[in-house]
Amino acid sequence: MLDNTIYNERLDTMNDVKISARGVNVFYADTHAIKDVDVDIKDKMVTSFIGPSGCGKSTFLRCLNRMNDTIDICRVTGDIRMDGQDINAKEVDPVQLRAKVGMVFQKPNPFPKSIYDNVSYGPRIHGMARTKAEMDEIVEKSLRRGALWDEVKDRLHAPGTGLSGGQQQRLCIARAVATEPQVLLMDEPCSALDPIATAQIEELIEELRQNFSVVIVTHSMQQAARVSQRTAFFHLGNLVEYGETGQIFTNPTDSRTESYITGRIG
């Protein structure tokens, strides 16, 4: 944990910042996966993380909802605040935090249950629906947001694992938005999707931005440019550059960023 003076020094703007991370380091046993990263995730904005494979994008994303707690060998240090509250503090319940910071994983991971049960899983454990009708409504709305409703509305009780890879990924997105998180972390949500579904998901991201903040990891520069307002470029565990998306893509200050977005390192 950093002491307060340094913390304030590193804090550029506190207004409309949803999550602010300062001096975050992550270790997997002896591997130093994230090196002293500072990031502000702004509210009601889309932030994209780009960078070569293995640079730590997923790892950093998982710090934001404390998913790294579930990995025994993983150790996180540094200061991450959401709405000014230190999320690693003792009094913060990671379970509550994850209800507020939803996540879509890199690989689709539907539960071996029906499509309906997959989507209603979160609302059910958080008691978000009082009646079956309310639950039906949540499920439908979420599946629509996940651009999946039309394809599955006739087989809501078929197993979610029976869907195609891209459909599974959209199911996972629907599942995540069903709990109405304040922040949605999406780890390469479109890597298995065709252009149409991708466009639908990007639309969803745009829609979610009205109320939530979204963090998206992507390997597609075009996607980052299309959907995000702010972009962070990671390289070998370091945050190399972070700023307005337009500025990162047109006028990067760091030579590594420039090489990456023009395709020379990766």
Partner: protein, 490 residues
């Protein structure tokens, strides 16, 4: 020459063959291994295999048929009148073999000279004493006819040994030479060795399968034999189990099956929840440190011989239960007469099954992909919610399979019930009564002096067959369920 010695010779030939084959292969290419089709040691192995294997097969065959031939020879040497009234031929044959072996031993010990042994009739009165001096005890005096038959047997064996020695060494040498002559740079020794290895593996698999088939066949034949002596309907539907060797036995399996199932049920009621919860704790809650300590501990529990559990039931659990449920017990009830009961055996068997259930379930729970857990945690579920709503449902088919496997072990368990459940075959609902099981009755029907021509003894095979069918059914069901579950994540 003795068989051991012959085998040693074969091994020696094989070793020589290996080095010879290798050297020969090398010499055909003047030491340039690149020109050989296979690595030099394959040529060596090729020769070694051909020197050893055919001869070894011959030896096995020989040893397998020899007793039959010798039995025939000796029986011919015996006059039918030599067999005493009311005695079985096989008993006399045993006697002959014993005397023949005794002669060999006495010669080896030096109490009889080799010449005397060739004509033992001359020292027949002295034989018993001389045998005694060599440490061979005989039941009675040796009868002349038996002695003559024994001499025939010894003569036959001596000839056979010579023939065997010659045959074996000839076969081995022939194999050696044949293989050695094949060696050329282009000879595919590697392929031939590979083939031999395949044959070896197939043969091992065959041994395993054939012995199983043999056991099942012998069970079936003896069961059929039993049903010739005892009506099948009385066996399967009889409500009384009351064997008596004087005749008029009641051999109904129902009380035994009832005892078996009741005890297994108690055992499963103990083992399944505890084993399952232990597995959930170990795989979902325990840190790597705890896991590394607790798992081996549980496995030690699985390694305890069941007889020890039986003692535990008899000496500890039984008396303890009596103290609570018996006369003058803590509860003031008199449900329990003695220490042996369904409860005693069931509880202890349950303890025995805990590690079985927990380690199988642990494997199954661990097979549930981490990504499912992540998905659930990522939606803000707690650990127990995740376990209850995601992990256990996903693992359920496998867990059911594990429980069925545990059930089939419980049904087949013997020592614990022999010591803990009692010996009375009873149809009762009170779990504190002594009852008995199929396995325990198989033991009691076959201990002591039994002759296998009475239904009281042969019933053991019918019981064993029933048990086998039950456990087989459970295992097949369990395997099918487990397999079905496996497909889910592939």
């Amino acid at each position: 020459m003795s068989v051991t010695f012959l085998l040693l010779i074969l091994v020696g030939l094989a070793v020589v063959g290996f080095f010879f084959g290798r050297a020969r292969a090398l010499s055909t290419v003047q030491g340039d291994t690149r020109r050989l089709h296979s690595l030099p040691q394959y040529y060596g192995a090729h020769v070694a295999i051909f020197a050893f294997v055919p001869a070894a097969i011959l030896l096995c065959l020989w040893l397998a048929i020899l007793p039959a031939i010798n039995g025939f020879l000796t029986q011919n040497a015996l006059d039918p009148s030599d067999i005493p009234e009311g005695r079985d031929v096989s008993l006399v044959m045993e006697e002959v073999k014993q005397v023949a072996a005794g002669l060999d031993k006495a010669v080896a010990a030096g109490t009889i000279t080799a010449q005397e042994a060739d004509q033992p009739e001359q020292i027949i009165d002295d034989l018993r004493a001389r045998f005694g001096a060599a440490g061979v005890a005989l039941g009675g005096d040796v009868r002349l006819s038996v002695l003559q038959a024994a001499t025939t047997l010894r003569d036959a064996r001596a000839t056979q040994r010579t023939v065997l020695t010659v045959l074996l060494i000839a076969t081995a040498l022939a194999g050696f030479v044949w293989a050695a002559r094949q060696i050329t740079p282009d000879h595919r020794a590697r392929t031939s060795v590979e083939f031999s290895i395949k044959v070896l593996l197939i043969a091992s698999a065959l041994v395993a399968i054939l012995t199983t088939v043999g056991i099942i066949l012998s069970l079936i034949f003896n069961t059929v034999e039993f049903f010739r002596m005892f009506p099948a309907a009385d066996f399967f539907f009889g409500m009384t189990w009351q064997p008596s060797f004087q005749g008029e036995s009641y051999l109904g399996i129902i009380p035994l099956l009832w005892g078996t199932l009741y005890i297994s049920l108690v055992a499963l009621i103990v083992a399944v929840p505890i084993g399952l919860f232990a597995a959930v704790y170990l795989s979902e809650y325990a840190g790597p440190r705890t896991r590394s300590v607790v798992k081996p501990l549980l496995e030690i529990l699985a390694g305890i011989p069941t007889i020890v559990y039986g003692l535990f039931a008899l000496l500890t659990v039984g008396p303890l239960l009596v103290d609570v449920f018996g006369k003058d017990g803590l509860l003031g009830v008199t449900w329990m007469g003695g220490g042996t009961s369904v409860m005693t055996a069931g509880l202890v068997m349950g303890i025995m099954l805990i590690p079985f259930v927990s380690s199988l379930s642990d494997d199954i729970i661990n097979a549930v992909p981490q990504s499912l857990r992540d998905g659930s945690y990522g939606l803000g579920a707690t650990r127990s919610e995740t376990i209850k709503t995601v992990i256990l449902p996903a693992a359920l088919p496998g867990i059911v399979g594990a429980i069925l496997l545990a059930a089939s072990r419980a049904v087949g368990e013997t020592m614990i019930v022999v010591l803990g459940a009692g010996a009375a075959a009873r149809l009762d609902l009170n779990p504190f009564e002594a009852m008995t099981t199929v396995t325990a009755k198989i033991v009691s029907q076959l201990t002591g002096d039994v002759s296998f021509d009475s239904p009281e003894a042969m019933v053991a095979f019918a019981l064993g067959m029933t048990l086998f069918v039950i456990t087989l059914g459970l295992n097949v069901l369990a395997l099918r369920i487990v397999r079905k579950y496996r497909e889910q994540y592939d």
